[in-house]
Amino acid sequence: MIEIKKLHKNFGDLQVLKGVDLTLKPGEVVSILGGSGSGKSTMIRCINGLEGITSGSIFVDGFDVSNKKELLEVRKKCSTVFQQFDLYPHLSVLENITLAPVYVLSSSKKDAEAIALDLLDSVGLADKKDVFPAQLSGGQKQRVGICRALAMRPDYLLLDEVTSSLDPEMTAEVLDILKKLAREGITMISVTHEIEFAREISDRIVFLDQGRILSDLPKDEFFAGDGGLADPRIARFLSKMGEFNGQA
């Protein structure tokens, strides 16, 4: 379980998160929606410890993110997929995926490679195992990014706008894989602009606006309009995304 309580995050004088409370149960898929600057990426970066928190608390299965020793346990439990892929450019696709299992989890190289090959196979990239990231398309890079995250056998998958750098066709190939994962019951927090994707995979939708949670509703209620959409800010956001055609 991920428990975020009264999370505040400031960058200097700028308050990015102003008291966020959120709980994620195992098996849940939660999408975080919100405009640019709403603090949604910052929230994910606080969970995996890339940003220190200003006040409040985040616990992942009882491990405190702000405790330096426990942070490592948190990071073993949560794997992140990044918007800009951020693969290790000097390593082959296979090495990108096996590096963390071998050095962080102390898996044997052989086991790590077997797992990596299985994962690559499941995303249709088995034949790319020996190439370098620079030789892949954006969609392929992000599929490798997903494999790299899954190779850690994480309890939680953190997705930070994973399709924002991709064109529609590549977006589709990445989303297909994530949908499959969601069906298999992995726990996910997904920060996204893809409303349709959020609608398809999420159990819950959290809408963030200016560092506060505006609504936190089961998917059906959010999209039915009797909940989140009652708020004009959410309706405006959705209509601007161009994906939502007056169902409210």
């Binding site: 992140t80 990044f82 951020d86 050095y103």
Partner: protein
């Protein structure tokens, strides 16, 4: 005019000199490389003491003429009881002086590693040491390899100054041969060609190394 035949009998002596030049060069390249990595890591460290110490080191050794350093090491230090022969004094002083340049070159490489890649690595739970050893330094090296090549070629050329502390490396040997044969023109033509070929070969090796390290960039590189 040019009468190379007059110095052919000295070719074995030239070779002896060359072997010393090669030994000093290889040892000093290794020494300055290891020292340079340490200096670079100290320069990017968040520890203020390490940071400041390395900054002073770099500024100091980049701003003193090499010949002054080598005189200090060979003629100065024995006064306070530190003795070393010309060969090891040369290796040590070259490593220390060139280490400052290597350090700055690798630091530039480290600073150009993309922040996102480091964050990704941190998010997976690698230790600081693992991130440096497996990700930052390998990437930094691929970026620094060309400027590093110039630094090392400069090092090889600088070994000629060691002739001034009685080391009979290539240049020292040549001086002796020139004064024995009274054929300075031939001797130094030979020497010029020799240094030229040597650094040309080193450049070629650096290019190969560069291509090898940057193979991950695919076709667009090199």
């Amino acid at each position: 005019m040019l009468d190379l035949a007059s110095i052919t009998e000295y070719v074995p002596a030239f070779l002896d000199g060359f072997i010393i030049t090669a030994e000093v060069s290889i040892l000093s390249i290794l020494g300055s490389f290891i020292l340079g990595i340490l200096i670079a890591l100290m320069r990017v460290s968040s520890n203020r003491f390490l940071n400041y110490t390395s900054l002073v080191y770099v500024d100091l050794f980049r701003n003193i003429p090499f010949i002054v350093l080598i005189f200090f090491g060979y003629y100065g230090l024995p006064e306070i009881g530190v003795y070393m022969d010309a060969f090891w004094t040369g290796c040590l002083v070259l490593s220390i002086a060139v280490g400052a340049y290597v350090g700055e070159t690798i630091r530039a490489g480290i600073l150009s590693v993309e922040k996102g890649i480091l964050e990704a690595a941190r998010s997976f739970g690698f230790s600081k040491f693992q991130i440096y050893a497996k990700i930052i330094l390998p990437i930094a090296l691929t970026i620094s390899v060309r400027p590093l090549g110039s630094v090392f070629i400069n090092l090889i050329l600088t070994t000629s100054i060691l002739s001034s502390i009685t080391l009979n490396e290539l240049t020292g040997v040549s001086k002796v041969i020139a004064s024995t044969t009274f054929r300075p023109f031939e001797v130094y033509v030979f020497l010029v060609i020799f240094y030229g070929l040597l650094t040309f070969m080193i450049s070629a090796l650096i290019s190969l190394w560069h291509r090898h390290l940057n193979r991950y960039l695919g076709e667009e590189a090199s």
